[in-house]
């Protein structure tokens, strides 16, 4: 990516293989600091896999073979010896399929705080409320903070996971379709949130909504079948796509 900013993440020759599938092919990408980078691409092209590689969550899938380098602050996180939990704390991933932890709504958010070492009761309460509000969930759950999070509706779960993810205060937020299950009103609030966050954080966002990309993105990366087809500032890629594939995708705009 031609850019003036210093990249916070540098991906070099990243290849991910599944037994019968070459999922990511020679990915070479720089992700700028304090910007929102949006990953676009058809379903199944490898966006989620790319995000998971950044966090080394690919470790959990023994069938995936991953090669190449990912530098974060000049540190190769794919190095097998590298302690990943610190990396992961720096890079919060909001997964595409929300997984509430098996505890109450309150504790789900407090869990993140606990990991950061915040345990003072009123501090925790204050923060839980703060993050639930940021995720536009507070009103719906304030009366049942202590009931199980697993019974929330999918959209609520998605917002809960967002609140939980923000609570750990990561430097980089990797958000995998964070508003896919949300109604327009909540979506607006979350987008607003992201716009505020980018002052301090770096955000990598996967979305299928081109309008969302337009509203939020500084940079756009278009992936197709595991390859980066085109990337650049948002207006370049979305408004004047160079590649045929990108054009076709962008014109389908929903």
């Amino acid at each position: 990516m031609v850019m003036t900013e210093t990249p916070i993440i540098r991906i070099r020759d990243l290849n991910v293989h599944a037994p019968d599938n070459h999922i990511l092919k020679n990915i070479h990408l720089d992700i700028p600091k304090n910007k929102i980078t949006v990953l676009l691409g058809p379903s199944g092209c490898g966006k989620t896999t790319l995000l998971k590689s950044l966090n080394r969550l690919t470790d959990l899938y023994p069938e995936l073979k991953i090669k190449g380098n990912i530098y974060i602050d000049d540190d190769d996180i794919l190095h097998p010896e590298r302690d990943v939990s610190q990396i992961r704390q720096k890079m919060g991933l909001l997964s595409q399929r929300p997984y509430p932890l098996p505890m109450s709504i309150f504790k789900n958010v407090a869990y993140g705080l606990k990991l950061k070492g915040i345990t003072k009761k009123d501090e925790v309460e204050r923060r839980v409320q703060e993050y639930l509000k940021k995720a536009a969930l507070w009103d719906e759950v304030k009366d049942r903070l202590h009931s199980s999070a697993e019974q929330l509706s999918i959209g609520q779960q998605q917002r809960l996971c967002l609140a939980r993810g923000l609570a750990v205060n990561p430097e980089v937020i990797l958000a995998d379709e964070p508003t896919s299950a949300l109604d327009p009103v909540s979506t607006q609030m979350i987008e607003h949130q992201f716009q505020e966050l980018k002052e301090e954080y770096t955000i990598v966002l996967v979305t299928h909504m081109l309008r969302q990309a337009r509203r939020l993105a500084d940079y756009v990366v278009f992936i197709y079948y595991g390859k980066i087809i085109e990337h650049g500032p948002v207006n370049e890629v979305l408004d004047n796509p160079k590649e045929e594939l990108t054009k076709k995708y962008v014109s389908a705009g929903v």
Binding site: D83, S85, R97
Partner: protein, 286 residues
């Protein structure tokens, strides 16, 4: 930060150490059997039935017990699967709505885990006499099946419980009947766990002598039908161990090796088959 990775390291090591310790103990037992049994092992052991004075250190083998154990444990396990799998599926599919009823069923089954094998034996013995049966393969199979059913059901039940509700929803919304959901989706999803449950119960069935002491009888012959008494390896081992002759007691370990090999075979085939059928399913439920 540092404290955290220390903690992680500590527990990683601790769990590793415990595992090693556990497996040292477990292999120690197996090693004891091998160490004492291999010298006494002979071709005769697995090809001959006991001849005169076998329990006195004379020639012969434990073929009767090998075949008997195969029949008995195999038969009982099959019978138990026939009851347990449907029951475990029933509990987790038909009865999901009745959680409090389920809790009670589980309670009853758990209690059955605590009934000593010898009581099952006595129970089977009473039944056997009531029906005018003599100690026989049939009576043994029934008793052992009753004894291992609770184990199998509960072990299966614990596995089935972890299957996410969404899978049942998916199956139902396609219009599957509950039976189809049970046997085509749930049984398949949980196959490795179900195999474990079966093998666990098989272990109990093949290894527990007390229940068959009463009901299966013992004989130096190979049973030819269900109404004849049958030998089993644990009983054969028990008798050999009680022999005054050192050499015979050593042979008991050889018999134990044979038992071990039999279980190993069951285990490998069982798990082999289940991986074969399960290759389409990722580990870990969603």
């Amino acid at each position: 930060m540092n404290r955290k990775s220390l903690e992680e390291q500590f527990f990683r090591r601790l769990t590793q150490l415990t595992t090693v310790l556990l497996f040292v103990v477990l292999t120690w037992i197996i090693a004891t059997i091998l160490y004492r049994g291999i010298p006494a092992m002979s071709w005769d052991m697995i090809t001959k039935v006991p001849q005169g004075g076998f329990y006195f250190g004379k020639e012969g083998g434990v073929l009767n017990a090998i075949i008997g154990s195969f029949y008995l444990a195999g038969g009982a396990t099959l019978c138990a699967i026939f009851v347990s799998l449907p029951v475990a599926l029933f509990m987790n599919i038909h009865l999901v709505k009745y959680q409090s009823f389920l809790t009670r069923i589980r309670l009853l089954l758990d209690i059955l885990w605590g009934v000593p094998a010898i009581v099952y034996g006595a129970f089977g013995f009473t039944l056997m006499l009531y029906f005018g049966l003599r100690a026989s393969l049939l009576a043994g199979i029934i008793t052992v099946a009753i004894m291992i059913c609770p184990i199998m059901i509960r072990a299966m039940d614990e596995v089935l419980r972890t299957i996410p509700r969404g899978l049942m929803e998916a199956s139902y919304s396609l219009g599957s009947t509950r039976t189809e959901t049970a046997f085509k989706i749930y049984a398949r999803k949980a196959l490795p766990g179900l195999t474990t449950a079966v093998l666990l119960a098989l272990g109990k069935g093949i290894g527990d002598a007390a229940a068959v002491l009463f009901t299966a009888g013992f004989t130096d012959y190979i049973p030819e039908n269900l109404l004849q008494p049958t030998a089993t390896l644990p009983l054969s081992i028990f008798f050999q161990l009680s022999s005054p002759i050192e050499a015979v007691r050593e042979r008991a370990y050889a018999a134990a090796i044979i038992l071990t090999v039999i279980i190993l075979l069951f285990s490998l085939t069982g798990r082999g088959i289940s991986t074969l059928y399960k290759k389409y399913s990722a580990n870990g439920n969603d």
